[in-house]
C-alpha cells in the first residue's frame, strides 16, 4: 500500500493501539494490497477513552465496559459478582484502556491477516 495512505491511517488510528503494536500494524499495512484499503478504513475500532468513561460512570460494576469492548465472558463475570465485589471494578479503571487497545489489535488481526 502507498506509504501516504499508511501514514494517514497511522495518524488517525495510533491512539487505538498499544505503542508496541504500532510497528507491526505499519508493517502489515505496507505489505497489504491497495484493494484492501476500504476494508482497512471500515475497521470498527473501539475508543479507549469511551471505555474508560463507561468504566468510571457506573458501568464498571455491571461489566458494561467489558461488554463494550467485546469481552463478553469477563463482562458476565463482572455482572454476576457485582464487579468482582467492587475490587475488579477499581482494577479495571486502570486496565480497561489497555484491554481496549489489545482488543483493537485483535480486530485488526482478524480482519486483515
Amino acid at each position: 500500500m502507498e506509504s501516504q495512505k499508511v501514514d494517514l491511517f497511522m495518524m488517525m488510528n495510533a491512539k487505538y493501539f498499544e505503542s508496541y503494536h504500532l510497528p507491526a500494524v505499519r508493517e502489515k499495512l505496507v505489505q497489504l494490497d491497495d484493494e484492501r484499503w476500504p476494508a482497512v478504513q471500515s475497521l470498527q475500532l473501539k475508543d479507549p477513552t469511551t471505555s474508560l468513561i463507561i468504566s468510571i460512570v457506573g458501568g464498571g460494576a455491571l461489566g458494561i465496559d467489558r461488554f463494550f469492548i467485546g469481552d463478553t465472558g469477563m463482562g458476565i463475570g463482572k455482572l454476576l459478582t457485582c464487579g468482582g465485589l467492587g475490587i475488579w471494578t477499581i482494577i479495571d479503571w486502570f486496565l480497561i484502556m489497555g484491554a481496549t487497545r489489545e482488543k483493537n489489535m485483535e480486530i485488526f488481526q482478524n480482519a486483515l491477516y
Partner: protein
C-alpha cells in the same frame, strides 16, 4: 484473551469467591457485609445484590429461598463448584477444553437473538430485586 491469563483470572476469582463466602458466613454478624459500590453509593440494589445470601441458602439446601433471593446465586454456585475442577483437569491433562468452551460461549452470546433476551432477563431481575428491597 490468552488461555493462561483466562485460567489465572478464573482461579483467582473462584479463590476470592470462596474466601469471601467463608468470611461472610463465619465473621459477620448477620451473615452479610455490603461491599457493593452501587448500593453504597446510591442506596439502590444492583443486579447481583443478594447473590451471597442466595449461595449461602443453596449450600444449606434451601433451593426455593435461594431462587427467591437472586437466581444469579445458582449460576454463581455452579461456577464456584465446577470451574476450579474443570480448570484443574485441563491443566493436569494439558488440554484446553474450558478455553474452547469459553470462546464458543462468547461467540454464541454475541448474537443479537441470544443477547437481547438475556439483557431483558437481567433487567427484569434487577427490577424484581429493587422491588424486593434486598
Amino acid at each position: 484473551m490468552a488461555k493462561n491469563k483466562l485460567y489465572l483470572i478464573v482461579l483467582i476469582a473462584c479463590f476470592s469467591g470462596y474466601l469471601y463466602l467463608f468470611y461472610t458466613t463465619q465473621y459477620s454478624e448477620n451473615g452479610q457485609i455490603s461491599v457493593c459500590m452501587i448500593k453504597n453509593a446510591t442506596g439502590y440494589s444492583c443486579p447481583s445484590c443478594g447473590t451471597t445470601r442466595a449461595v449461602q441458602a443453596l449450600f444449606k439446601g434451601d433451593l426455593i429461598r435461594s431462587l427467591m433471593l437472586n437466581p444469579f446465586g445458582i449460576i454463581g454456585s455452579l461456577g464456584l463448584l465446577i470451574l476450579p475442577f474443570w480448570i484443574g483437569i485441563d491443566l493436569a491433562t494439558k488440554r484446553k477444553s474450558f478455553y474452547a468452551t469459553y470462546i464458543k460461549m462468547e461467540t454464541v452470546l454475541k448474537q443479537k437473538k441470544v443477547a437481547i433476551p438475556l439483557i431483558i432477563l437481567v433487567v427484569l431481575n434487577w427490577i424484581w430485586i429493587i422491588y424486593k428491597e434486598l
